[in-house]
Amino acid sequence: MRYEFSWGMLFTQPYSGWIIDGILTTFHLALISWVIAFALGVLIGVFRVTRSPVLRFVGTAYVELFRNIPLLVQLFIWLYVVPQLLPIAFSSWWNRLEYVPYWTAVIGISFYTSSRIAEQIRSAVMAIPDGQFKAAISTGLTPFQMYRYVIVPYAARIMIPAITSEFLTIFKNTSLALTIGVIEITATARKIEAWSFKGIEAYTVASLTYVATTIGVILFMNWMERRYQIPGLIKRGKEGL
Amino acid sequence: MTTPIVQIQNVSLTFDQFVALDKVSLDVHVGQCTVICGPSGSGKSTLLRCINGLERFQSGDVLVDGTSLRQCRDLPKLRLNIGMVFQHFELYPHMTVLDNITLAPIKAKKLPKAEAQALAWHYLERVGIADQAGKFPGHLSGGQQQRAAIARALALQPKVMLFDEPTSALDPEMISEVLYVMRDLAKDDGMTMLVVTHEMGFARKVADDMIFMDSGRIIEHSSVEEFFDMPKAVRTKEFLNKILTKF
């Protein structure tokens, strides 16, 4: 197997420019989608745990819908199907937007991830011991106060690992956007490979982006957990064999 | 004096920075029932687990029936001579009580199934739960589970039985049924036993030797009368005061 490594090439134009664009696109696509997904996810998550059967049904339907269809298929639906089904005025505005694929990806990834976040929120609230709710109410707090001062802080801490994991998942899922034309880092790597035949260098850049971000986010999460830790609450026991 | 069946010689054990055992030495003779008590973190359970090799100590040695743990090549075989009963019973939830008891005789001692089952029935009757043999542990009360766990350990016909706080996880009304089984084991069968417990009533009536441990050391080791009436160390006195006069 003969392969001539040429790492220096990555630092020359046009490759270096592409790489920077690709990394930036990956980051802002992930971050914008994350913000929307989190807001939506919290809303739907709350629906799932309220006492109203109607809201719970809406929440469940939402989650099941977006969870059981592959993200790639969802992207295609947002790209090809939804614009056609909308009123003409809206779809013609949409089609004349710059970066339609980008915003399609944002919408697609946001809705998909929001359903997963809603599930995490539901798990976290269900994991809170029943006694906490009872203790809070018995001291005269209103339901709203109970949620604000007791339940939400508790659930937030339980959720930290799962939410971090969802962010990393969104970050990895931005790669799917390449199928609808968004040039994020994986697409960039493919492009570099196609132009230079130096696949190892190209894909290493992409992999490094993901791995470095993963490590960074996990370190941040560990810091967050330690900083906001409630002693004895989340048992980080090391039960190994 | 015959050789003690369990000889703990200057054993020390450290977990990371924490010293769990600090040059502990102890001899246990055949037929003796030794009760070990002390505050939590004093190393009592750790000491017990050193005897059957579940914990690896860094210095010193433990000899069981003449075999040194340090030089032992076949720990599983050695453990056939040492029965252990745990605080949380640790029955295998996915097997019936009978299967729980016959597993090790069949797999470790290589006994034929019929023989293992005969043994199991014998000990099930001994501890008084023969009618629960076909049930799963989840269907038994705590006291029944612990008695099943004792039968499981006895089925290997060990020379020494180790009890690690056997009644600490039980509802108050079930503690006595387990203690009676243990008393009969000590008095009628003459089993050599090491018991870590806070049940002082049991200790006074059944034990031959009393040991008090604190911070990884044996502070006091004496006969039952001396221990309760004239303890030598101040620390022992403090502990006994707190534990005997609870309110």
Binding site: Y80, K172, V211 | E90, A104
Partner: protein, 215 residues
Amino acid sequence: MDWNVIVVSLPLLWKGLLTSLNLTAVSIAFSFPLGCLVAMGRLSHRPWLSNTCASFVHVFRSNPLILILFWFYFLMPMIIGSAINDLTSLIVTFVIFFSAYFAEIVRSGIQSVGTRQMQAGLSSGLTHVQTMRHIIMPQAIRAMLPALTTQCIIVFQGTTVAYIIGYNELLHSASMIAERTVRPIELYLTVAVIYFVVCYSGSLLARRFEKRTYS
């Protein structure tokens, strides 16, 4: 909208679905055992083994599936010396990629049983292997079933990635038909429904497993 297109295309879509299911099944068949091995390695007392397996898991869980697919699609012909067909590179990618996820599920299943059951087994004279086989694994597998089922559904959803290299699974077949007949709405909605039905049924199965505990 002209739903007749769907009726006419059903045979092709059915073939695509079978291809996707086949791809899923083969991937799981190799990926799960590999994952078990990696999980065992991760739990080993030998640092070189547990660290290697831990790194394996971290690397493949940090990278997106598409990128791993590109890696293997590019690297394999180079290493082997000749061109590789699409299916082989897909299967190799899926098997290795998903084994990291299976490894995590197996590992946490085993750890959820706890050290005390292990101690109980060892203290009665069983060897480490015997304890794993008779005591730990039966309990671990029961604990793992819901997560394993969910992971299988994820593998099935992952097969859509094969679209990118032009392999003819369900999504790709549908897009070919959509292009040919210029009827993307009908095709993609149908495909979405098919995926939904399969994945939702799978999730119901996973929920059944979750309910079965020791009474």
